[in-house]
């Protein structure tokens, strides 16, 4: 009988783990928040909610075309730079990309009037202008994550020649009717978005966080049990705390931006029907001619595949690729499985188009 099968040995091991859980549990409760976003970077621009970072290259020779990552407006960008050795940004830097990130700070009450137009026709073009000035390159690739992907898509559709050289979208919804639970929660019949925005100004982060948590209501409790079970495992606890910190670090949303998103996209589904206008111009996804890669996750509970699947068919690009990978909304792009699946796939696609 091997040691693993020996009941006495198994019992001894469980007792050993129980003791370690006690010690490590105390350590867990008394230690500070984990460090995140440690890749060296310069802050190129700070303008209200907008933050533009330039990461320090890690190789002597980079691709000619820099890449701008556009983060979702609900969450912090450090999910893509969690820790050395577990960082999408670090991977790109080591692979030879000149990496910039458009990240968001919490909009202050005075920014409650920001609209989608401000993000699409002001913040993104402003970042591109600064990147072009910084690098001396006119060509820039854009990679948008979640709603950052939607904003990147809208910008590319409207920008014409000022648009990016390549466009990458991660888990980007265009058919909002397929986001079933969010649809029900924002039902026009019951949800008075005007009252909410008029009362609060910006939508409180607790509300955004709760809506994400409600998609999987039992998972927080189950995750706590899993944490207790694995609290003896330092590597597990480190990863847990980094993700937990990020998950709880939800941003408020600018009130008008939220009102517009609810009315135009959730209620009207206008991006999908082709009726969406931004800054007086109709958004035609067919006007996108750039090479485009759309990466979606098989088990995405926030943006289900049905909500994202029509993107590739709708764009006018000849060079277009959709990849469906195992994983969920976050694990598509962050964590060990992303490092094995998504990151090399992106490098392969983008490297060829970045010279």
């Amino acid at each position: 009988m091997s040691a693993a099968q020996d009941p006495a040995e198994r019992l001894r091991r469980e007792v050993d783990l129980a003791i370690q859980r006690g010690f490590k549990g105390v350590n867990y409760l008394t230690s500070g928040a984990p460090e995140v976003g440690q890749s060296r970077k310069d802050v190129l621009a700070t303008r209200g909610t907008m933050r533009l970072y330039h990461y320090h290259p890690l190789v002597d020779e980079v691709y000619r075309v820099p890449v701008l990552i556009v983060m979702a407006t609900t969450n912090r960008g450090y999910i893509l730079d969690l820790a050395p050795g577990n960082s999408f940004v670090e991977y790109l830097l080591k692979a030879g990309y000149d990496v910039f990130m458009l990240d968001w700070a919490a909009p202050v009450p005075a920014e409650k009037n920001l609209r989608i137009e401000d993000y699409v026709l002001d913040f993104i073009p402003d970042c591109l202008r600064r990147i072009r000035k910084e690098t001396g390159e006119n060509d820039v690739s854009i990679a948008g994550y979640c709603f950052g992907g939607v904003l990147s898509l809208l910008f590319t559709a409207l920008a014409g020649k000022e648009g990016p050289k390549n466009l990458v979208c991660f888990t980007t919804p265009i058919d909002f009717k397929q986001m079933k639970l969010f649809q029900n929660w924002s039902s026009q019949k019951h949800f008075d978005v005007d009252r909410l925005v008029d009362t609060y100004g910006n939508v409180p982060p607790e509300m955004i966080h709760s809506s994400f948590e409600m998609l999987r209501p039992a998972s927080r409790a189950a995750a706590q049990v899993t944490l207790w079970d694995n609290i003896w495992n330092d590597e597990f606890v480190r990863g847990y705390r980094q993700l937990d910190r990020w998950g709880n670090d939800t941003l408020p949303l600018a009130g008008e931006y939220f009102r517009q998103t609810t009315k135009e996209l959730m209620w009207g589904n206008k991006l999908f029907t082709g009726e969406l206008t931004i800054g007086g111009k109709r958004v035609d996804l067919g006007a996108i001619k750039q090479p485009i890669l759309h990466a979606v996750a098989e088990h995405d509970h926030i943006v289900p595949y049905e909500a994202a699947r029509h993107l590739i068919a709708r764009v006018g690009s000849k060079d277009k690729t959709e990849v469906i990978l195992k994983g969920g909304h976050v694990s598509l792009l962050a964590g060990p499985n992303a490092a094995r699946r998504m990151w090399p796939k992106l490098d392969e696609w983008l490297g060829e188009r970045s010279t």
Binding site: H56, V59, E61, Y63, S187, H190, H329, S331, G335
Partner: protein, 141 residues
Amino acid sequence: MSEKAENKSEKAGAKKDERPKGPLDAFRDLVGQWERGVNQIANEAMGNEQFSRLMHGATSAAAGAKAGLGDAMERYLATMNLPSRADITSIGERLQAIEAQLNRLTEIVSTMATVDTAPASLAPKPKRTRKPPARNSGAKP
């Protein structure tokens, strides 16, 4: 399993798999089943119109209470000759407009400058001549 939990499990996945089966494994399986079951039942419950109506009834009541409290507080602060949140927000808006104007002026001055200015970034400037490597499946940079 939630996205977060999924990531957490992935993180320690290899180590957990290596661990020999223990007396707590049945409990772990039970937790997994409980999570999936509750999530599924809750998703079905939250997908109906009644839930939406109740949820927004509660949200609306909270918003109403906040609005009422806000009005009362504003009157109280005015009586005490103190600035309200709206006053502070208004000052914030004006400051932001000044900041935006300053940014525009800085841009103009920067464009007008005839001498070469230092780049905004302090990062070292690598050559921009990299070519993609010949690909092998699973190759890492």
